[in-house]
């Protein structure tokens, strides 16, 4: 293998038989190139998928009150269930061991005004914890804090697009604007790139402020909570069951009533997400194997052809004293050199194409297409090995052919 003379012999053969070398090399280059690009695109598809599904925290449970569908304990059916601050405090205490964050949501549609600019927006009145659930990034000013809640402060955290609509290029932090004719001070501006324009046209206010201003109630529209990830998928399912049970007890709902509460545990979505992701993974792998297989078949054909073409030359070499092992070794070594060299070319071209694509294909759901180095090296090794196997069989046959047969005139 490290015989310098052997290498010279091989490079001469490769060099002097350019057409043959190019033919074999082209197959390998094409194989690796297509493999790299397809595999990269598959990964790009996966990237898009993860990007769009992993924006918000996944370990959350949203609870909304609805209407009962069954009479229970003297209450009639079709009774409207309502949550109040006490429900939230109850859950917070009851499940303190498993909860990381809990927040109320009170929804309100408002028309906002700043100087001569008007707009209608959704307001979410929340607790400070809400930022962790939505993964809101306050890039200017600050988010709502506990002090705002305690003092019913008339402050608002506005979305990036709200700032753009109402304040133009001006920095909104510290400015006063009105919502439904009540004046608020902007304390922060947030962005949320993953959730899209709708989220960035939302305004957050302290839950207590909104409750005080509108009819001075304790009512809340939704309770959102985030649990400790370490309880796992089954722990999460169990948690939502327990919460459901406790809330039904508090609100006198029949245990079998399925429509009185809407409990949305994201773990269910997450599992679907993961299932879809593994489906994508399978598709990518199938594409990869398919392309590799095509490459393997290509190089096998070329090797059979090359050895056949060289039968006479091998016969001459044998008549001059080449051992069968030397003939086989020469062909195999050549195969490895050609496969590696041209495989590398395919890899470089493929990576270049993937890199230059970048995010241009985002409209077709392909984000940052790429192939890991390990995958490519693995693919090349598979090609080399298949080239070796494909070359070995005809090479051995060629080495076994008696020189007289090989040298016989056509």
């Amino acid at each position: 293998m490290f015989d310098l003379d052997r290498w010279r012999e091989i490079f001469q053969t490769i060099n002097k038989n350019k057409l043959r070398t190019l033919l074999a090399g082209f197959t390998v280059t094409l194989g690796i190139l297509i493999f790299t690009i397809l595999f990269g695109m598959g990964n790009g598809l996966k990237n898009t998928f993860y990007e769009s599904f992993q924006d918000d925290a996944q370990n959350t449970i949203f609870i909304s009150p609805r209407s009962t569908s069954k009479p229970f304990k003297g209450f009639k059916e079709n009774r409207r269930i309502e949550f109040e601050n006490e429900d939230l405090e109850f859950l917070k205490e009851k499940f303190a061991d498993r909860l990381e964050h809990i927040t109320a949501r009170v929804f309100k549609g408002v028309s906002a005004k700043y100087k001569n600019e008007y707009g209608s927006y959704d307001v979410r009145a929340v607790h400070p914890s809400h930022q962790y659930l939505e993964q809101t990034e306050t890039f200017k000013g600050r988010y709502i804090n506990q002090n705002d809640i305690r003092t019913d402060a008339r402050v608002a955290v506005i979305g990036r697009l709200v700032e753009k609509d109402l304040f133009g290029d001006k920095d909104a932090v510290g400015e006063y604007f009105s919502m439904n004719k009540i004046v608020y001070r902007v304390i922060g501006v947030f962005k949320d790139e993953g959730s899209g324009d709708r989220e960035e046209r939302t305004i957050y206010t302290p839950v207590s402020t909104t409750q005080r201003i509108y009819k001075n109630t304790e009512r809340i529209d939704q309770i959102n909570l985030m649990y400790d990830m370490s309880i796992g998928a089954n722990g999460a399912r169990k948690l939502s069951k327990e919460i459901e049970k406790e809330l039904k007890k508090r609100h006198n709902i029949a245990p079998s009533d399925r429509s009185a509460l809407r409990i949305n545990n994201k773990i269910e979505d997450l599992e679907e997400t993961l299932q879809f992701a593994s489906l994508l993974q399978i598709i990518v792998i199938v594409i990869g194997i398919g392309t590799l297989l095509a490459g393997v078949i290509g190089i096998s054909n070329i090797m059979v052809y090359i050895v056949k073409e060289r039968t006479k030359e091998l016969g001459i070499r044998k008549a001059l004293g080449a051992k069968p092992s030397s003939v086989i070794g020469m062909i195999l070594q050549e195969t490895v050199v050609i496969t590696l060299l041209f495989g590398y070319i395919g890899l470089v071209i493929g990576n270049f194409i993937l890199n230059s694509m970048g995010d241009k294909l985002k409209d077709w759901f392909i984000t940052n297409p790429n192939v890991s180095q390990g995958t490519i090296i693995g693919a090349t090794i598979i090609l080399v090995i298949s080239g070796l196997i494909a070359g070995y069989i005809p090479a051995r046959r060629a080495a076994k052919v008696k020189p007289i047969v090989a040298l016989r005139d056509e």
Binding site: D5, R8, E9, Q12, T13, K16, N17, K312, E313, G315, I316, R317, K318, A319, L320, G321, A322, K323, P324, S325, S326, A399, K400, K402, P403, I404, L407, D409
Partner: protein, 233 residues
């Protein structure tokens, strides 16, 4: 140098068996120049292939330079071929992408001789066949006679005990044939044992002994007065 006793060889052709050699006895001493003659199908090429270890006999014994040639593995046969024998073929069998010097050096490569010495030896033998100036030409740039001279240089390069030539002039015109025979005679004069297969009467008479084969047996084996090729060139 070569002792052959009761050599038999048959080829299987479908269900029939073709008995090609039917008991050959032949004894060739060192320094002899022997031609094997016979019409096609007489078994002369088969005999040469067996002597050249390119094929194996079914029965009988073959001793080359006191080494019995029997049941050789492919590897062993390759080593013996390389060490004992030099081949010259009718169709030259040069490797077309190697130049003359590289073709001549090839058997030395398989002897594991260093590159520098290979080069020197190749040039020395090309000089000997008068082709030193053509050392770096490809076979396609050489005439038939020149190709055969390169092949002779290649056969000599490994310094074999015996030179085996299968119709060495078969593809050449008369004038070139005699030039090639002149070279072979010169080599034989230096003491090399040479075996030529031919069906041309005049070529056979340029050797020193003619063995006539017919239907797989030796019909006639006679020593002849050698005709010097140089007289006809």
């Amino acid at each position: 140098m070569i002792q052959i006793k009761e050599l038999h060889k048959s080829y299987r052709m479908g269900s029939n068996s073709l008995h090609v050699l039917k008991g050959i006895n032949l004894d060739i001493k060192e320094g002899e120049f022997v031609s094997i003659m016979g019409s096609s199908g007489s078994g002369k090429s088969t005999l040469l292939n067996i002597i050249g270890m390119l094929d194996e006999a079914d029965k009988g014994s073959y001793v080359l330079d006191n080494v019995p040639i029997k049941n050789l593995s492919e590897k062993k046969a390759a080593i013996y071929r390389n060490k004992f024998l030099g081949f010259i073929f009718q169709s030259f069998n040069l490797i077309n992408y190697k130049d003359a010097a590289e073709n001549v050096a090839l058997p030395l490569y398989y002897q594991g001789i260093s590159r520098k010495i290979r080069k020197e030896k190749a040039l020395y033998y090309l000089e000997k066949v008068g082709l030193a100036d053509w050392a770096h030409h490809l076979p396609s740039e050489l005439s038939g006679g020149q190709k055969q001279r390169v092949a002779i240089a290649r056969a000599l390069a490994s310094e074999p005990k015996v030179l085996l030539a299968d119709e060495p002039t078969g593809a050449l015109d008369t004038k070139t044939s005699y030039e090639v025979m002149d070279f072979l005679q010169g080599i034989n004069d230096e003491g090399k044992t040479i075996l030529v297969v031919t069906h041309e009467e005049d070529i056979a008479h340029m050797t020193k002994r003619i063995v006539m084969l017919k239907d797989g047996v030796i019909e006639q084996d006679k020593f002849v007065e050698q005709v010097r090729a140089s007289e006809h060139v």
